[in-house]
């Protein structure tokens, strides 16, 4: 990996230049919550000043720029008895600025499923290859447990990764496109002083992790404690609303909906992101539901994240951003559920 530094003024020029010809996405301030904290979302930027480089956490993850909530997989022209299928892939280039290490690691996990295993998904691949990713370091929040999930640093999966070292950004460069871009804005070789400051910032970040979740034995616990009361305890609180999956940077399950227009001349096959907590997730035709109760569905959400995905890809699906914990109306978070599970095992 190559490293350079770029002044904040030049970074501004770079973003403005990128905005001229490309769609640029970044964290924007959208609202305030009941406690007065700012709510951020990854949205299209119109001016540089909309970009909040000091944002805390975006409410939902930037995953949806790769896996939209709704996406037309194919369309059909229907004629009398016959039909013709049309498939289009999104290929317009896009830049996403300000992605956290956890969100980049989340994309790498999605890549495992959607690019690197059986049946690569062309819609996802098209978006992934046409997106330039500029990452951004931050000091962890109270409830971030990305460190426990080994997702607090990103080594690949981005083009540029920025660390704020005062009046400059320390830039890790991971692609030729990224290299070309920063070099056009007077990127400098890393000076001794820059590297010292970079290490200071990194060191400070390391000391700020407050929340820890011990996940080393969780894959085994998922089987050992499959019948545990913990699932019923938390599952009975679950409202089966699916908010957790909507904000999660790695949830990818979906449902297919097919629609026709009123004149039956056109049809659409649409993918809609789903949640394994929704009531009819595993309902088959005829009405049988393989997971009729909320606590069983909640258990399987964890089972997939901390057991099934581990078996398939030697890593858990969760990156430790705790967006699900923040979004959950019933106060269920991975931290409390897993701690409870470990506690049960000790008893």
């Amino acid at each position: 990996m190559l490293f350079r530094t770029i002044t904040k003024e030049n970074f501004r020029k770079m973003v403005e230049a990128l905005m001229e010809n490309n769609e640029v996405i970044g964290p924007k301030w959208r609202d305030r919550d009941t406690e007065g904290n700012k709510i951020y979302r990854f949205l299209k930027l119109n001016t540089f000043d909309e970009l909040q480089m000091d944002y805390t956490r975006s409410y939902s993850s930037p995953k949806n720029y790769f896996l939209p909530f709704k996406e037309d997989l194919s369309t059909y022209r229907l004629e009398d008895k016959d039909w013709e299928q049309e498939i289009h892939y999104t290929i317009h280039p896009r830049v996403i600025i300000g992605m956290r290490a956890c969100d980049i690691n989340a994309l790498l996990k999605l890549d495992q499923v959607l690019v690197k295993s059986a049946y690569p998904n062309p819609h996802y691949v098209a978006r992934r290859r046409n997106t330039l990713i500029i990452g951004l370091d931050h000091e962890p929040l109270e409830d971030c447990f990305c460190r426990s999930m080994n997702s607090d640093t990103a080594f690949h999966g981005f083009d540029l990764f920025l660390t704020d070292i005062g009046e400059k950004y320390f830039v890790a460069i991971n692609s030729d496109t990224g290299y070309m871009i920063v070099n056009r804005f007077d990127a400098r070789e890393v000076a001794e002083d820059d590297q010292r400051r970079y290490k200071e910032v990194k060191g400070r970040i390391e000391t700020k992790f407050k929340t820890q979740v011990d996940v080393t034995i969780v894959p085994e616990l998922m089987d050992l404690e499959f019948e545990s009361d913990v699932w019923k305890k938390w599952g009975d609180k679950c409202l089966s609303c699916g908010s957790c999956a909507m904000v999660c940077p790695t949830c990818y399950c979906y449902g297919i909906e097919e629609h026709t227009n009123l004149t039956f001349t056109k049809a659409t096959k649409r993918r809609v992101l789903y949640s394994c907590n929704l009531l009819d997730f595993a309902t088959v035709a005829g009405g049988h539901n393989f997971r009729p109760e909320a606590h069983i569905r909640l258990k399987y959400r964890y089972y997939h994240q901390f057991r099934g995905f581990v078996e398939a890809f030697n890593q858990s699906l969760c990156v430790g951003c705790n967006r699900c914990g923040k979004a959950c109306l019933a106060g269920i978070s991975p931290k409390v559920v897993i701690d409870d599970l470990i506690e049960t095992e000790k008893r």
Partner: protein, 302 residues
């Protein structure tokens, strides 16, 4: 100074210019593209089930379509929906595939309204298969309950076409009532020409039923099973797996030589939608055919 990020058009990838080949799982392809197929005939079997014979329209796509016994396809009615259906015909039949569909939901209900000549889409084949290659030199026990006979027709055709590879082949088939027995018109052929031992039983006998009455496990009284030289394929409702596979385990048949086919909700067939999640894996990729040892290790598989 302006900057244009380079475009990457995935349509230009070599594999994307060809029709998809679902047997080459690792290749980037138009996974949503269905093979346009004509319904060449529809055979009503019972009040609930119809057998659809489907022929892929394009000759090249038809030639390239190969599958193994136990695999399934996603059958699509554009604008209506897509459903996973196991293939119920011979792997050597290059002209058409047979799909038996029970009218039970929205898409299958609409499929039952189709007329001969209708155009549907199929994607596939997907999933694992009954490992007929491992069974060479062994006896085969095929056990079906109800609709479970449908995916077994493919291995049955296979055994006919490779009859000398296998020793004794026994088909045990149980249905709820005589009117629900499927493919009874083929039983005589299976006995006489395929050289299979064919046993049927129903739970509730009707007026014209002279055969056996009882649960499928009753049939075990009539067959001698050599656990050291037998493979079993079991297909039916989950409750049947427990009794049948339990019985076979007690006889000493290794669980790795018993194969079952599971059913779950599916929206993609490609391990992406997660809907068919069973235990730690997916029915569409690691299934639908699992050996019984694997099933025992998958939470709530049966």
């Amino acid at each position: 100074m302006s900057l244009q990020i380079p475009h990457h058009d995935i349509n230009l990838e070599p594999s994307m210019s060809k029709p998809p080949d679902f047997n080459r799982q690792s290749v980037l392809m138009h996974t949503e593209r269905g093979f346009k197929s004509e319904v060449i005939s529809i055979v009503p079997l019972t009040t609930q089930e119809k057998l659809f014979h489907i022929r892929i329209c394009d000759p090249c796509e038809r030639e390239n379509f190969t599958f193994l016994p136990g695999q399934f396809v996603m059958l699509e009615l554009p604008g209506c929906g897509e459903v996973p259906i196991s293939i119920s015909s011979s792997t050597s039949n290059k002209e058409f595939i047979a799909l038996c569909v029970r009218k039970v939901g929205k898409v299958t209900g609409m499929l039952h309204r189709l007329k001969q000549g209708a155009i549907v889409g199929i994607r596939g084949p997907f999933g694992t298969h009954f490992p007929m290659e491992k069974m060479v030199g062994y006896n085969i026990l095929l056990i079906a309950g109800g609709l479970g006979i449908v995916p077994l027709r493919s291995p049955i055709y296979w055994t006919k076409e490779h009859r000398s590879d296998y020793k004794d082949i026994t088909v045990m088939y149980g249905a709820k009532e005589p009117g629900q027995i499927l493919f009874d018109y083929q039983f005589e052929e299976w006995r006489k020409i395929y050289g299979l031992k064919m046993l049927t039983i129903v739970q509730e006998a009707g007026e014209n039923w002279n055969g056996r009455v009882g649960l499928i496990t009753e049939l075990f009284k009539e067959v001698t099973i050599d656990p050291d030289n037998t493979f079993a394929i079991v297909c039916g409702p989950p409750v049947m797996f427990k009794f049948v596979c339990g019985h076979l385990s007690n006889l000493g048949l290794p669980r790795q030589r018993m194969f079952v086919s599971l059913e779950r909700r599916m929206h993609c067939g490609m391990g992406k939608c997660c809907r068919c999640n069973v235990g730690s894996t997916f029915t569409c990729l690691d299934g639908p055919v699992f050996d019984y040892w694997t099933v025992m290790n998958l939470k709530e598989a049966i």
